[in-house]
């Protein structure tokens, strides 16, 4: 097999795409064409070899004046009856000395194009002649089911009605390559069934022409075109029956050894679905009425195809919708919808008919069924997130879209991915494995054209021998319904995510309301609960002051106890308030000089409790990043505790130090005081938890709870070590400054 220089393939494509096939400037020779202006005057004309002698020198004259009887009346009555964008209307059958003709006309912009097509005999031929065949075809169509049976039937019937050597049903794929799916062959031409043809064999503008004009006949591949004069290249022959075709195409036909061809377009809706492509070894003119019957058959087949495709799609959609319903129920049943999907891998994969699926969310990848490995999936996700794509990414061949995707080919040649959160690069991805297939082409599709001996003009390939190609890196294609199902699932997920977000918003609104209530509550506690204690203390002290002399020693002690109790109750209220405030107030982190804060706290404390000697050992204290008001409370509290519990030591030793590690600073306060039993360490930081009897060490039991709350609100950690009578060490870790 020789390599085709790429330039030839490119030339070929470009040249064919550029060919002015709608305005070839000439017609096939089995008739004549006249372009009439609004007054019915011929502005341009072409007279083919088989129409010579019907009218001479028509340009500049009224066509009606040049034609006899029926034809004249038909043309005179044309008026504005023809609508642009439609195929020709049959006006009449015209017998002249030069032969018999069908007279047809259609509108092209402001002009009317009248064509005389040479009849195949002297009689017009009527639809009655083909009616039994058409009728039989319609009956048979009723009994067929499925596109294949319909295609077989259409090939058979069209060949029977036309008597041509071969009828093919040619179907386009998504890339406009064609495949022969049905064939009826009389034995004179090669069999092409199951062969594929490259998209370039029928270039885009030819396909568009097929879509508009549903029937085309080339009567003789060796014909001599009749030029339209003057200025033939200005006449749009889209709907013409005599349109001359590209010389490249005629050469292609000669290479295929077919001298005549006829094709009928098959449409599914507005889309060109395929062709009924007929060939004959010898030149032949298929009669007008037979072509009309074929066109009718083509329309029936088109409608059947459209109906069949629509119902197949609907069936598939229904099935997928059932799966989708199940998935939605699974998702709704779980707190997090992804868990609902992961718990039902079978349904998830059935939704798109995939062999494997993966959910990538928050950097976590969960794989179900047959999928590429995790690093491969994560690199795919990375690539996907860089693409500016729509909601759904679909590839039958991932490697064709993303060269590195070849690494995923074994289990992930086919990929459908939906993004389920744009913020977090979360995707749900389905996979299909590579499906290695052998495709038979009608000739080497790479050798679309060859340079001729002149070295300038392009020639279509001469060989149509079966050329086998192995197709790799491709999965079974995703069905439209499957892609839609994935898209719909995405919409459902996005809905769920949105609904969750709304629920969260409602929840935080409620929380805010509750918080506000709590604030009001603590305000009222602070005000109303504190006042009675204040009054108790106040009156008891007044009583003691004014009536103290008259009280017994016992009465005096009672009053002292009342005062002390009320004061500590008031202290309790104050501590509780500050504890609740710690939980609510906002944190404003700044860089804190812990050493300065320790000095300040020491100064405050020693003024009050300067009863015993304290040996302070203060090491290097690293700065932290936290709320200064709150950290001051922590330092104050820990130093207060250290002093309190070491007050019966002589001397009391209080050591303060810190260590910075991995972005955190751990600061500790160690004393040589009463210590505690590690068995109770869990109780140390709880509210109202005390490890010592009250007469030993006073306190409300809230101080350390407050410390813990403050540190934890900063994302830090507190802990303690101790031993009874051997002192205690309290640690707190906060972010480094």
């Amino acid at each position: 097999m020789t390599e085709t220089p790429a330039i030839i393939a490119d030339l070929d494509l470009a040249a064919c795409e550029r060919e002015p096939i709608r305005v070839p400037g000439s017609i096939q020779p089995h008739g004549a064409l006249f372009v009439l202006d609004a007054d019915g005057v011929v502005s341009k004309a072409a007279i083919g070899a088989l129409a010579v002698g019907v009218v001479d020198d028509p340009v500049g004259r009224k066509l009606a004046d040049l034609l006899p009887g029926d034809a004249r009346r038909a043309i005179e009555s044309l008026g504005t009856g023809l609508v642009a964008g439609r195929g020709p209307e049959h006006l009449c059958f015209l017998r002249t000395e030069a032969g018999a003709f069908h007279l047809v006309a259609h509108r092209s912009g402001e002009d009317v194009i009248v064509e005389l097509e040479r009849a195949t005999g002297d009689e017009p031929g009527s639809f009655d002649a083909v009616y039994p065949d058409v009728r039989a075809f319609l009956d048979a169509v009723q009994r067929t089911s499925g596109i294949q049976a319909l295609a077989d039937l259409a090939a058979r019937e069209v060949r029977r009605i036309t008597g041509l050597d071969r009828a093919l049903i040619y179907r386009f794929d998504e890339e406009w390559n064609g495949e022969v799916i049905a064939e009826d062959n009389g034995g004179r031409l090669p069999v092409y069934l199951d062969l594929r043809w490259p998209a370039s064999d029928i270039p885009a503008q030819a396909r568009e022409l097929y879509r508009l004009n549903r029937l085309r006949l080339i009567a003789d591949a060796n014909y001599e075109p009749a030029p339209i004069t003057p200025d033939g290249a200005a006449v749009d022959l889209t709907y013409s029956v005599l349109r001359s075709v590209s010389p490249v195409h005629l050469e292609y036909m000669r290479n295929m050894e077919t001298m005549a061809s006829m094709s009928i377009s098959l449409l599914s809706g507005e889309r060109l679905w395929g062709l009924i492509s007929c060939h004959h070894q010898d030149p032949i003119r298929v009669p007008y009425h037979v072509r009309a019957a074929c066109e009718f058959i083509g329309q029936v087949v088109s409608m059947q195809i459209a109906a069949h495709e629509a119902s197949a799609l609907a069936l598939r959609r229904d099935a997928l919708r059932t799966v989708q319903g199940k998935l939605l129920a699974h998702m709704a049943a779980e707190d997090h919808f992804i868990d609902g999907l992961l718990a039902h891998p079978r349904d998830l994969m059935a939704l798109t008919g995939a062999d494997g699926a993966a959910v990538v969310a928050g950097g976590r990848c969960t794989r179900l069924g047959e999928t590429p490995d995790e690093p491969a999936i994560l690199s795919l996700v990375e690539w996907l997130s860089q693409q500016d794509r729509e909601d759904v990414f679909v590839a039958d061949s991932l490697a064709a879209e993303w060269p590195e995707g070849e690494a995923l080919k074994d289990l992930g040649s086919g990929v459908v991915a939906i993004s389920i959160s744009q913020i977090h690069d979360s995707y749900l991805i389905w996979f299909r494995p590579e499906l290695v297939r052998t495709v038979s082409w009608g000739g080497d599709p790479a050798k679309r054209a060859e340079l001729g001996p002149d070295g300038l003009r392009l020639h279509p390939r001469k060989s149509f021998d079966i050329w086998k190609e192995t197709v790799r890196l491709r999965a079974r294609p995703w069905h439209e319904a499957e892609i839609d199902a994935a898209r719909e699932l995405r919409v459902a997920i996005v809905d769920i995510v949105l609904r969750r977000a709304e629920e969260m918003a409602a929840l935080s609104e409620r929380l805010a309301a509750i918080n506000k209530e709590l604030e009001a509550f603590s305000y009222s506690v602070s005000h109303d609960l504190r006042a009675p204690f204040r009054h108790i203390v106040g009156y008891a002290q007044l009583l003691k002051k004014f009536e103290g002399e008259r009280l017994s020693e016992r009465g005096d002690r009672y009053i002292e106890t009342i005062i002390e109790s009320a004061i500590s109750a008031g202290q309790l209220v104050d501590d509780l308030l500050s504890y609740s405030q710690m939980g609510r107030s906002t944190i404003t982190p700044v860089s804190i000089d812990v050493a300065a804060m320790v000095d300040e706290a020491r100064a405050n404390l020693t003024v009050e409790g300067d009863r015993h000697r304290v040996d302070w050992r203060i090491g290097d204290l690293a700065p932290v990043r936290a709320d200064p008001v709150m950290v001051r409370l922590v330092v104050q509290n820990l130093l207060e505790n250290a002093l309190k519990f070491s007050r019966d030591r002589e001397p009391a030793v209080i050591e303060i130090g810190s260590e910075a590690k991995e972005g955190d600073v751990t600061t500790w306060v160690r004393d040589n005081g009463a210590g505690f039993d590690m068995a109770y360490v869990d109780k140390l930081f709880g509210v109202f938890q005390r490890l010592h009897r009250e007469e030993e060490f006073e306190g409300t039991g809230i101080g350390l709870a407050n410390v813990k709350r403050i540190v934890e609100r900063h994302g830090g950690r507190v802990w303690a070590q101790g031993e009874p009578d051997r002192g205690a060490t309290f640690f707190f870790a906060l972010p480094a400054a």
Binding site: R530, A531, G538, A540, Q541, L542, I563, D574, L577
Partner: protein
């Protein structure tokens, strides 16, 4: 004694009135103490209107103003005082029930001259009132025993 300006105590709780008076008494201030029981009455006194339209007593030397009061609250009374050209020089000491309330006064920053968190322990309160009295009110005249609430 008549040329000594009085202290205006604005306090709704009768117990707090009694305790405050006891504290003031121990400070041995020469000034009379006028007690009013809500914000509206305080404003009436300050602006010589309503039942105080014809008051003979002078404008106060200092106003001891509880924060939380019936009818017109302490902050509003404070605002009125500080807005009035004639009264704005009068020192106002805000009495608050808790530290939380103290924060409220601070954030309000209406030009309060001092604030005192009423402590649970009476002797601390006594000290606070005494300090304030010394500072704001007046002189230490010989003990004028029994400066009765008025009216």
């Amino acid at each position: 004694m008549a040329d000594l300006k009085p202290i205006l105590l604005v306090e709704d709780s009768p117990k707090d009135v009694e305790l405050t008076l006891a504290a003031l008494e121990q400070c041995q201030l020469a000034n009379a103490v006028i007690v009013v029981r809500d914000g509206a009455e305080a404003l009436d006194y300050l602006f010589s209107r309503g039942s105080f339209a014809n008051r003979e007593t002078a404008d106060p030397a200092v106003v001891l103003l509880d924060l939380k009061l019936p009818k017109v609250d302490g902050l509003e009374v404070l605002e009125q005082i500080k807005k009035d050209a004639h009264l704005k020089g009068t020192p106002v000491v805000m009495l608050t029930s808790s530290r939380e309330e103290r924060d409220l006064v601070r954030s309000y920053s209406l030009g309060v001259n001092a604030f005192v968190v009423k402590p649970v322990a009476f002797d601390q309160f006594f000290e606070a009132i005494r300090d304030l009295g010394m500072f704001w009110a007046v002189l230490n005249e010989p003990p004028p025993r029994g400066s009765a609430p008025s009216p």
